[in-house]
Amino acid sequence: MTRSNATSRPGSRYVVSLLGERHDVEVRSDGTVLIDGRPARASLASTNSAQSAGRERVQGIGDGYSLLLDGASFALRAHGGRGGAWHLELDGRCVSAEVLDPRAHRIRRLSAKAGADSKVAPLRAPMPGLVVQVAVDEGQEVEAGDTVLIVEAMKMENELRAPAAARVKRLLAAPGDAVEKGQLLVEFAEAGEA
């Protein structure tokens, strides 16, 4: 049942960061895992044709897996990112996890502290669409929740609002512009800032 997990490396340890919490996991060669010290029998099997049949390969959208954890059955999808990142989907919930060995986890935590940032996040297009209206001017002060731009997509107007009290530093879109998903639309400075 747990053949796929029973490699020659006994008791590999990982730090799993998920939904803002840290979990210590040990994957043992006997088909059990220790999650925050609590043991469970675990079996993970791919449900994609790729791995089971060796004939097909599905990419990009995440592979299907069946996890049995002390018998409880979970059908999930997983997509691996860089640096121990895993994007998981289970019961319709999409959750990102970071899996590192304990040493890598310590290093990453230290470097993360240095990069803390308090600026107001810029507005990006949440979907491809057409800018219908720009409700602010450069230099204007806005309150959290004020409408900044209206983007039309799928025939619906979507109002994009200021994420926090701020000053409009730079406007990068005008009415009639077709914008791509993620495209930078408005940059903010902190309220009062030059």
């Binding site: 799993v16 996991v25 860089r82 640096g83 990142a85």
Partner: protein, 504 residues
């Protein structure tokens, strides 16, 4: 009986109509825009012809081109589905003028009911209760403000030509009227080419209940009971049921009778729906949709009637196959709209390519879909990917069945409404039938649902096992780049994610 039909639509409804035609031995003729060349409705029709580029105005809304295909393919009839040209009287006129049967009511009926103010006038005359408001379009934002003050806030600004929530704005304070009026006008102009707007009193916590109607060319009109469509987002229905969760037998009867009265007032022929707003025992005429509705399957599940079959029979001049008292009402049906949206991210439209597609099965479960593996979901058209329908002996059984079906449904490659729908099936107010059109705003907890402990534990185990499988090196300190977040993978349940149930 009609011999062949051109289906002037795409997606799940085109496939639904093609299936209905096939079962009656009617040759089905599909049309497709460039990106739809490989769509299921093209594959499953008997014939299919190109009608232009992606933009709807150049393809699915292009009347000349549709009529040209209809003539070349020798189409005996045209079925408009819903949306696109379904409620365009000029299309019905053009089809009829070309000597082709239009599967739907007469152009005059569409015209009368399509004009909201005209519809109000007629319904008032027929003794059908209507919501207080203007029966004429408003000339300006100024006039709108005046009427709004008379009717009393909140008010709703609506496109005279509209439907489906487009060109619609709720305004709660006097100072918001001008902005709302302009937005409604702009959307109405863009969506229908008709920017006229009118105003009505806005019911605060109404339920949206509608009655399915059917008329034939012999003067028979019946109703097929009601549907409750209160669970909406952005005025777009998300979950529909038949019958209504809480309507009593007497209310059912009087609402059905009012709907039949409304249909008689316009000598209705074909499938139609009268939408009511219901609040505190009162119901008001909202609008009449002169076409098949998206949510018609729930009515089919509880009555056993095939509404598309009836459409073809009526369009062929046959009389309705049943009289009012012969129409059964058995069990309870629920429909969930599976749309390409990110429900936990303000219902933003989602795009992608459909990857894995697993359709639930078993007793009482129906899937009306318009997608297949490989279908590209873009922004050109409606986000409806398919409809999941569950029927059970009662509402509780139907809800439980739907919950299981949603759990089995897999649509890979694009975000859908399914996870939110799953949560709603478990939510106590929904379970108890305590719903209104404000259901979603009143349940923000749905959008910040905690991940249960067992699920979290499974996710942690899965992540560790996946990394373990991927082999040594991956989790080592040399790889420094932080995880790149994918848009679909929200940091569910963290404090930074504020719920945006209505996208604003």
């Amino acid at each position: 009986m009609i011999k062949s039909v051109l289906v002037a639509n795409r997606g799940e409804i085109a496939l639904r109509v093609i299936r209905g035609a096939r079962e009656l031995g009617i040759r089905s003729i599909a049309v497709f825009s460039e990106p739809d060349r490989r769509a299921p409705h093209v594959l499953h029709a008997d014939e299919a012809y190109p009608i232009g580029p992606a933009r709807a105005a150049d393809s699915y809304l292009n009347i000349d081109r549709l009529l040209d295909v209809a003539r070349r393919a020798g189409a005996h009839a045209v079925h408009p589905g819903y949306g696109f040209l379904a409620e365009r009287a000029d299309f019905a006129d053009a089809v009829t003028a070309a000597g082709i049967v239009f599967v739907g009511p007469a152009a005059e009926t569409i015209r009368a009911m399509g004009d909201k103010t005209e519809a109000r006038r007629r319904m008032e005359a027929a003794g059908v209760p209507v919501v207080p408001g203007t029966s004429e379009p408003l000339a300006s934002a100024r006039e709108a403000s005046g009427v709004a003050n008379e009717v009393g806030f909140p008010v709703v600004l609506k496109a005279a030509a509209g439907g489906g929530g487009k060109g619609m704005r709720v305004v709660r304070r006097p100072e918001e009227v001008p902005g709302g009026f302009n937005a409604a006008m702009r959307e109405a102009e863009a969506a229908f080419g008709d920017g006229r707007v009118y105003v009505e009193r806005f019911l605060d916590r109404p339920r949206h209940i509608e009655v399915q109607l059917f008329g034939d060319s012999h003067g028979n009109i019946v109703h097929l009971y009601e549907r409750e469509c209160s669970i909406q987002r952005r005025h777009q229905k998300l979950i529909e049921e038949a019958p209504s969760a809480l309507l009593g037998e007497e209310e059912r009867h009087s609402m059905g009778a009012a709907a039949v009265r409304a249909a008689r007032a316009v000598s209705y022929v074909g499938a139609g729906t009268v939408e009511f707003l219901y609040q505190d025992g009162e119901f008001f005429f909202l609008e009449m949709n002169t076409r098949l509705q998206v949510e018609h399957p729930v009515t089919e599940m509880v009555t056993g009637v095939d509404l598309v079959e009836w459409q073809f029979r009526v369009a062929s001049g046959q009389a309705l196959p049943m009289r009012q008292h012969e129409i059964p009402l058995e069990g309870h049906a629920i429909e969930c709209r599976i749309t390409s949206e990110s429900p936990f991210d303000g219902f933003l439209p989602a795009t992608g390519v459909v990857g894995e597609l697993e359709i639930p099965g078993g007793p009482g479960v129906r899937w009306d879909g318009g997608i297949a593996r490989g279908t590209e979901v873009g922004l050109h058209y409606d986000p409806l990917l398919g409809k999941l329908i569950a029927h059970g002996a009662g509402r509780e059984a139907a809800v439980r069945r739907m919950k299981g079906a949603l759990r089995e449904l897999t649509v890979g490659g694009v975000s859908t409404s399914a996870p939110l729908l799953s949560l709603i099936m478990d939510e106590p107010d929904f379970r108890a039938g305590r719903i209104s059109t404000r259901y979603l705003e009143e349940h923000p907890e749905l959008f910040r649902a905690e991940v249960p402990a067992a699920t979290r534990r499974a996710l942690v185990a899965a992540a560790a096992l996946l990394e373990h499988r991927a082999g040594p090196g991956r989790a080592s300190p040399r790889i420094r780049r932080a995880a790149t977040p994918l848009s679909r993978w929200a940091r569910v349940g963290t404090a930074t994610d504020s719920p945006r149930p209505n996208g604003r």
